[in-house]
């Protein structure tokens, strides 16, 4: 029963992985990584029940926290990178003008 769920989750992770590898824009990749984190949380919980060692839910909790912090960090740095690209373009335009 657990094994079946684990396999289904693994299949889902596989498909998300394909999207992560193929994703054209950087946001597709961020989306895939975020979804990957969530499915890993579920995977770990199911595997811990499969091994009859139920102490692993702490790990699942940490995965959830970290995938959230990671996603927010990536988004902020993509934004900052975008803003700096804006400024570089503005700088080039200003040098061209005078």
């Amino acid at each position: 029963m657990y094994a079946a769920t684990a396999l289904l989750l693994l299949l889902a992770m596989g498909m998300t992985l394909v999207r992560a590898l193929r994703g054209p824009t950087v946001f597709d990749r961020i989306l895939a990584v975020n979804m990957f984190g969530t499915s890993t949380v579920l995977m770990v919980s199911v595997v811990s029940f499969m091994h009859h060692v139920t102490d692993m839910t702490d790990i699942a909790l940490i995965y959830a926290l970290l995938s959230f912090t990671g996603t927010i960090a990536v988004l902020r740095f993509v934004e900052i990178d975008h803003e700096r690209r804006e400024m570089e373009r503005a700088e080039q335009e200003r040098e061209v003008l005078p």
Partner: protein, 353 residues
């Protein structure tokens, strides 16, 4: 059944490693590395390494990937312009490396075989049978980490201390008399757009920090301990820094205090060892700490886990603050230059026209 999961996870790892080698986009390489360490953490769970899974996820996905992304954001490199050079030489050398390793695995005991020397050696029985009874700690990794091989962990805390001091020495901000003019509206503009994020994070950050203390103390019974707690504490502070700006975060926990905390953690750890010497035992022999050896062990392990937790939390927070403020100084200078440029442009047309 575990074998099928094992094989599929290994296939994932292989595909990511190849993709990382092929891709020329640095952002995607960084995120692939994030997924790689997340899957390897899941593989550790399947291979019964619970503490390592927690650390690998917290450190691999949480810290390394974020630092790589900050470096990319501040160096402004998205696609690495040149194709990888010297491919043939690199391939040849790594194939030779692989060949020696495969040659090495020919005589290895197969995975998990009970008659492998690793399991038949007397210390393996000692760690799994005698230590829980002797120490009274169910999680066998913590006594091994803190007491049997406690000196390794002291060395490791020293390594973390060196990394903290190194990053401070390299890109730490000089204690300026006049703090940088904080262009608030520039940062506010960016952060204000995420009002939803800031509200949610305000609810999330206190539980994260509380959870870090739980992980710190829970090291004896389940997966947890000094390192994981330190990293979770630092990721909580990082979340705050991300959403409320580095300047604000630096005012909450001043970098000077962090620097002292880095030193304090290592001193606590070493101090426990010196106290043991003064009490007449060997270095890091906690049995001398209290009348009953088992109590002494518990006190010793809890104290050094606390020392490790303080150092790791302070070091990772310092590293992330230094990286982020280095990035912010860069963006700041560019803004000031741009603003002066814009003012100059406004004045020169009138004078020019």
């Amino acid at each position: 059944m575990g074998v099928a999961i094992d094989i599929i996870l290994l296939l994932f790892l292989l595909s990511i490693a190849f993709a990382a080698c092929v891709t020329r986009n640095l952002f995607s390489a960084a995120m692939l590395f994030g997924i790689f360490s997340l899957i390897s953490a899941t593989l550790f769970v399947v291979l019964d390494a619970v503490d390592v899974a927690m650390t690998e996820a917290a450190v691999g996905t949480g810290v390394s990937t974020i630092l790589i992304l900050i470096t990319l954001a501040s160096t402004g490199y998205r696609v690495s312009p040149r194709p990888a050079g010297r491919q043939v030489l690199a391939l040849a050398v790594s194939v030779v490396l692989g060949a020696t390793m495969v040659y090495g695995t020919l005589d290895m005991p197969s995975l998990g075989s009970p008659d492998a020397p690793v399991h038949t050696h007397p210390i393996a029985q000692y760690y799994t049978e005698v230590s829980p009874v002797e120490m009274g700690i169910p999680n066998m990794v913590t006594p091994l980490l803190a007491s049997y091989r406690g000196y390794d962990t002291l060395g490791e805390t020293a390594v973390v201390f060196t990394a903290g001091i190194g990053v401070l020495a390299l890109i730490g901000r000089r204690r300026r008399k006049d703090p940088l003019p904080i262009v608030e509206e520039f940062r506010e503009g960016g952060a204000n757009r995420h009002r939803v994020l800031r509200v949610i994070s305000k609810q999330l950050i206190p539980p994260i920090l509380l959870y870090a203390c739980y992980v710190q103390a829970h090291g004896d019974f389940g997966p947890g301990g000094g390192f994981q707690a330190g990293v979770i504490f630092a990721s909580g502070l990082m979340l705050f820094m991300l959403l409320f700006g580095v300047e604000h975060a630096r005012r909450i926990i001043r970098p000077v205090v962090l620097e002292k905390l880095i030193a304090l953690g290592l001193l606590i750890y070493g101090g426990v060892g010196l106290v043991n010497i003064l009490q007449g035992g060997a270095f890091l022999d906690y049995r001398t700490l209290a009348h009953d050896p088992q109590h002494g062990l518990h006190y010793g392990i809890l104290t050094i886990e606390l020392g490790v937790g303080i150092t790791v939390a302070a070091v990772i927070t310092t590293i992330i603050y230094s990286f982020a403020s280095h990035l912010r100084d860069h963006v700041m200078q560019r803004t000031l230059r741009l603003r002066q440029g814009a003012d100059a442009a406004q004045t020169s047309p009138e004078s020019g026209a």
